[in-house]
Structure formats: structure tokens, C-alpha cells
């Protein structure tokens, strides 16, 4: 194993970690705001990827342009999903029942994708699919770089929104203590709905990024939801910075472990990290006040 291979794998790990970070941020947001375990997050991700592929396939438009439509659409769908379905679950059992509910939604989306687009694997074919630029001896694929940039920008936007805006303050207050937030006059129901919409919007961005450089098929979301769930537990449920850091660490870990272990076994890094976290620090390694409530 050479140094350049290590460096190349590190670069690939960082690029992969960026996408994980964006998606895990959305997933942890649902949990933070609503204590909802959103199994369907990755299904929405794949749905967005399919829409991006479809737009490209049908009209020859760059898949990234699909974001103009999918991001607002997913945001609205998220608000509607929360207000119409999640809000109707009994607060005492919302975490458990949300698993069932969102599992059903995931199956519904998967089945619908299979019905409309068939189970055939799809891949967006772009003129710059194979292009790459050299950075300190490592080859960085342009599509991966775009996906990473998109993820980083969205994360930054999410971060600024949460820390700098009044809505962000209200959202964070809702995450920290819903009752107290209501006492000071925050409409937590509305905020929770918007929070859910934001989470789904990250799936829309992630989907477009995914479609640039990955094969998609209807059941692909099962390959994503496991690692993403592990990431948000390791990072501390409800903590967006925690999710981002854990995503980066585990993404790089997976990429580097593929060298000695191979593709099949490197996937286990997420679950080993999950077991270790639950044994050593069940509330997660970063942030994670919330996990203690279980």
C-alpha cells in the first residue's frame, strides 16, 4: 500500500463523508425536533435522485437543475407529512410509532419507484462524468466534487439558518425543550412542521448530489438508512454538528478500511461504531443531550 493510495482514499472518504453529513443532518433534525425516527429519509433521497435522473433523461437538463423544483417540493411535502401524519401520533409513543409509519412510507416510495421506473438500475450519463482534476497527486472526480460542494453549501446554509435567524432560534428552542418553547410563545407545531420540511429538503439536495455519480435503483435506500442511523446515534441524536462530524469520521473510516478489508467488510464500520457508542457512550460522542431521555 502506497502513500498516494492512502491519500487518494482519504480524499474519497472526505468526499463521501460530505454527502453522509448532509443526509445525516436532515435525519437528526427530525429526531431533534420531533423525536421521530425517519426511516423514509433515504427513500426520499432516492426519490429525489430518480427525479433528477428523470429530468435529465427526459429533457436533457443537468440533474442539478432539478433542485429548483425538488427542494421546495420536498420542503412542502415535509411540512405536509408532519402536519398530516406525524402530528397525529400520540406524543407518548411517537418515537416508536414513527418507525412504523415512516417504514410504511419508505416501502410505499420504493414500490412506487419500482412501478413507475421499474427495478432497472439507472445512472445519469453526463459529459463530465469521467472528468477529474488532480489535487496534490490525488484524482478528484468533478462529479464527486460538485456533490461535495453542494452538500457543504447546504450544510452551511442549514447551520446559518439555525444559528442566525429567528426561525432557527425557535427551532433550536423547540429541540431543547418543547414545553419551555411553548411557554415563551413559540408555535412549536408550526416550527416542527418547518423543521420536518427542512429535513426533507436536505434529502432533495442529497438526491441530486447522489444522482451525479451513483447508480440508483428503487431499493437503494436500504443501503443508506443503516449507515445514516448509525451516524446520528454516534454523533448524538438531535445534534447537527455531531451528525456532521460523525459522518465525516465514519465516511473517511469506511473509505480507508476498504483498503485492508475490502468493500464487503468495510461497510461494518458503521455498525461497529454504533455498538461501541451504545456500550461506551449511549448519548453519542458529540452533543447528544437528548439520547439520555430514553
Amino acid at each position: 500500500m502506497t502513500g498516494s493510495l492512502l491519500f487518494q482514499s482519504l480524499v474519497l472518504g472526505i468526499l463521501l463523508g460530505g454527502l453522509y453529513a448532509l443526509l445525516a443532518a436532515g435525519l437528526t433534525l427530525y429526531f431533534g425536533v420531533m423525536r421521530v425516527v425517519m426511516i423514509a429519509h433515504a427513500a426520499f433521497l432516492v426519490l429525489a435522485a430518480y427525479l433528477a435522473w428523470d429530468v435529465h433523461d427526459r429533457f436533457g437538463i443537468d440533474p442539478l437543475l432539478s433542485l429548483v423544483v425538488t427542494v421546495p417540493l420536498f420542503f412542502l411535502a415535509g411540512v405536509g407529512f408532519q402536519r398530516l401524519l406525524i402530528a397525529r401520533l400520540r406524543p407518548a409513543t411517537v418515537t416508536m410509532m414513527s418507525v412504523l409509519l415512516t417504514f410504511a412510507v419508505a416501502l410505499l416510495i420504493e414500490g412506487m419507484l419500482g412501478f413507475v421506473y421499474s427495478g432497472t438500475q439507472r445512472r445519469v450519463q453526463l459529459s463530465y462524468s469521467a472528468a477529474s482534476i488532480e489535487v496534490f497527486g490525488a484524482q478528484v472526480a468533478v462529479v464527486k466534487l460538485i456533490a461535495f460542494g453542494l452538500a457543504a453549501l447546504s450544510l452551511l446554509a442549514l447551520y446559518l439558518l439555525l444559528t442566525r435567524s429567528r426561525f432557527g432560534q425557535a427551532l433550536r428552542a423547540t429541540i431543547q425543550h418543547p414545553q419551555a418553547a411553548r411557554l415563551i410563545g413559540i408555535d412549536t407545531d408550526k416550527v416542527a412542521g418547518y423543521g420536518f420540511g427542512l429535513g426533507l429538503a436536505t434529502a432533495a439536495v442529497g438526491g441530486a448530489a447522489l444522482s451525479l455519480d451513483s447508480t440508483i435503483y428503487p431499493s437503494l435506500h436500504w443501503h443508506w438508512i443503516g449507515p445514516l442511523m448509525a451516524i446520528i446515534v454516534v454523533g448524538g441524536l438531535g445534534s447537527i454538528p455531531g451528525a456532521a462530524i460523525a459522518a465525516m469520521v465514519l465516511g473517511i473510516g469506511q473509505s480507508l478500511l476498504q483498503l485492508p478489508l475490502g468493500t464487503t467488510w468495510a461497510q461494518t464500520v458503521f455498525y461497529l461504531a454504533l455498538f461501541a457508542t451504545l456500550l461506551v457512550r449511549p448519548q453519542g460522542f458529540f452533543g447528544g443531550r437528548l439520547a439520555q431521555r430514553f
Binding site: 482514499s9 432497472t120 469521467a130 477529474s132 484524482q139 483498503l259 464487503t264 468495510a266
Partner: protein, 382 residues
């Protein structure tokens, strides 16, 4: 040979069938006039299906039967029309349909029209079992033909064997298909997976010392056929002293090939061998291109034989080799004088801009082999 009931066919009919089937012409898709892709694949697979039928007639010995000559012979087939194997699966479907059309236009089998009943098993081994059970038990088809690829052939052959049906399959090439003890299974292509690259191995080994590649990288899907092709070649090349520098296996649904590609690129292997089906080959090739890795030769199983391949890879299919086959009875090979002195795979060729799927048409040309010697490579097997 134990008697195998081919429902609906009695003995005399079967004799006539044997005669009737001989004219199914098998034309090599690789020569003369370059028919369009679809037609080419259809022809090639049609040949396979034709061969299947030949084997079938040769083997169905006297058993009880019957059948109304005015009714069509229904043939039940389950194919992976969606899912992992959808591209090669659709190719086999075109082949079966081409065969049925050819047979029906020349009077049918035993004077009866052939009717195909094709189900989609979604590349799923559970589904394929259910499909063949319903074809045999509910639809009462007269014959069953096989699906695509070992992973689906083994479970479906078991169903056919349980029902005592003859099972002719065009594309289950891994050695394990033949190690299950099936006495009803007939493989309609010329070689098992491990022998698919025999001619390529011979060609590489026959190269002069200075030109011969010294290192090779292997990446194979965790799939009996895909691994069979890659490891068959690996064994031969290793025995000839060509060093293995990367040997990776990945799960069937892998979508991210960047890490495997990084290892291959870093090894600077002279040649890359992919034990692939379809999408995995496309993904691996794109990932290798992203790393600006240029091997002297790239050999991938199955994927390059699909018409979709060149659209997915773009114009860069040159130098990609894939094993394909043809019927030995047909003198499709040029005589030895027209073989190139140096196999086409020795040196990297300058990139060309043609967008046609050249790989199997040109690069897979086995080097100098006397005409008339049966090829041990086979088409689109799995």
C-alpha cells in the same frame, strides 16, 4: 439418459421435431454487414435459443405425452427484465423472441406454433422459483427454458427438476450449475464461466516476453458467474507468471466503486479483469476513468455484450474485451492467414471517436485460431 417428459409432445412428433429444427441458422453477429445492435444481439441470442432447442430435441427421450396439433406449444420462461440483470435479461428476451419468430415463420415446432410465456423475476432468486412453479403447475406450459445467470438458473433448475421437467438454459455458466446433480439441465452455450477467457489467456501467454503484461488487477462481483470468469483467467495468467496486484470482491449491489478503482489505479496494473454483470462494470469503468487510469487491456464479462453498454460508457469502449461465443458448426472465423500477427490487445490504441459498440466486434476477436476449431467462449452467459 432418463426419460424426461416434455409435456404435450409425443414420440413421433419429437422425431419430426429433430428434423424440423436443423435449419435454425446461427449466424455470427460479428461478421459481415454489421447489423444494428439489437438485431445483432437478437441474432446471437436467437442462435443460443436455437441451440437450446436442438439440445432439447436431442435429449427428450420417449415418455408419455400427447397434445393437440392445432394448439401452440407454450414455453414458460422467467427472465430478469428488471433489477440487477435487466440489461442482459432483456437481451435474452430478444433472443428468445427472435427464435420463436424464426421457428414460427418456418412452420413452427412439429407443425405447431410456438408461444412464449415470459415472466419478470426482477433478478430475484425467490421470485424466479415462484415464477417457474406457477408456469409449470398453474399455466401447465409444455416446456420451460432457463432464465439468465447462474444465481437464477440454479434455483429454477431445481424447481424444474422437482416437477420432472426438462430444463434448457442459455446462461448459467458457473461451474456450480453443473455440480448440483441436475439430470434435467442442459446448457446451451459452449463453455462454463471459468473457460470464458481461455482464448484471451492463450493470446496473452503467447505474446513475446517484452510485450506481455506483467501485472493484472481483478475485481469481481460476489456472484458465481462473474467470479468464475475472472478467476478462470486469473488462474491461467498467474500460472504464466503474470502477477496479481489487486484482487477485490464486492457485493452485488455495490454502487460506489471509487475505493476499488483507487486500489487498481494505484497498482498501475497492466491489465484489468472485471468479473462483472452489467451496471457494476459501467460503474467501475467510470470510476477508473475518474482516476485517469489507463490499462493496456480491460476485460469485462457480460456488460460489453449489451447494446446499452456503449451508451453508458460513451465513446471510450475501445480496448475493452469481452468473451462472446458463436456456434462452431458455422465457419465464422477467418482462416488463420487473416489473423493479426500481434493480437489486437497488445498495445493501447489511440482513442477513436466512433460511438458504435466496438468492443465485442473488434477487441474480443480471439487471435489466430485455426478455422473450424470450436470456440470455448460463449455469448452473454451468466
Amino acid at each position: 439418459m432418463p426419460p424426461l417428459p416434455a409435456r404435450g409432445l409425443d414420440r413421433t412428433l419429437r422425431k419430426r421435431l429433430r428434423k424440423a429444427l436443423t435449419p435454425v441458422a446461427c449466424v455470427s453477429p460479428r461478421r459481415g454487414g454489421d447489423p444494428p445492435d439489437d438485431a445483432r444481439t437478437a441474432l446471437r441470442l436467437g442462435c443460443l435459443a436455437g441451440v437450446s432447442a436442438l439440445v432439447l430435441t436431442a435429449c427428450s427421450g420417449g415418455a408419455a405425452g400427447g397434445g393437440d396439433p392445432s394448439e401452440p406449444i407454450t414455453i414458460g420462461i422467467s427472465l430478469p427484465l428488471t433489477g440487477d440483470f435487466s440489461e442482459p435479461g432483456k437481451g435474452v428476451q430478444r433472443g428468445y423472441e427472435a427464435w420463436a419468430a424464426a421457428v414460427n415463420s418456418s412452420g413452427g415446432l412439429l407443425g405447431r406454433q410456438v408461444e412464449l410465456r415470459i415472466l419478470d423475476d426482477q433478478s430475484n432468486a425467490d421470485r424466479v422459483v415462484a415464477d417457474y412453479e406457477s408456469l409449470i403447475a398453474q399455466d401447465q406450459v409444455d416446456l420451460v427454458f432457463g432464465p439468465f445467470s447462474t444465481r437464477l438458473v440454479v434455483p429454477s433448475a431445481r424447481v424444474a427438476s422437482e416437477y420432472g421437467m426438462l430444463f434448457v438454459e442459455p446462461a448459467g455458466a458457473a461451474a456450480e450449475v453443473f455440480e448440483q446433480g441436475f439430470d434435467n439441465l442442459f446448457y446451451a452455450a459452449p463453455a462454463i464461466a471459468n473457460d470464458h477467457y481461455d482464448h484471451l489467456a492463450e493470446a496473452i501467454i503467447a505474446m513475446p516476453e517484452g510485450q506481455r503484461p506483467t501485472t493484472a488487477a481483478y475485481a469481481a462481483m460476489d456472484d458465481p458467474f462473474a467470479q468464475g470468469t475472472a478467476y478462470g483467467l486469473k488462474e491461467k495468467l498467474e500460472a504464466a507468471g503474470i502477477r496479481t496486484v489487486v484482487d477485490e470482491v464486492y457485493p452485488p449491489n455495490t454502487t460506489d466503486f471509487s475505493s476499488i478503482a483507487a486500489q487498481i489505479a494505484d497498482s498501475r496494473a497492466d491489465i484489468i479483469v472485471g468479473g462483472t454483470q452489467y451496471q457494476d462494470a459501467v460503474n467501475l469503468i467510470v470510476a477508473l476513468q475518474q482516476l485517469a487510469y489507463q490499462p493496456k487491456l480491460a476485460a469485462f464479462s457480460t456488460a460489453p455484450t449489451n447494446p446499452e453498454f456503449s451508451a453508458a460508457i460513451g465513446s471510450r469502449t475501445d480496448g475493452i474485451v469481452s468473451p462472446t461465443g458463436y456456434t462452431p458448426e458455422r465457419p465464422t472465423r477467418p482462416t488463420s492467414s487473416s489473423c493479426s500477427a500481434t493480437p489486437p490487445t497488445t498495445a493501447p490504441r489511440p482513442p477513436r471517436t466512433r460511438r458504435t459498440p466496438t468492443p465485442r466486434a473488434r477487441s474480443s476477436r480471439p487471435p489466430c485460431r485455426p478455422s473450424g476449431v470450436p470456440s470455448r467462449v460463449s455469448a452473454s452467459s451468466g
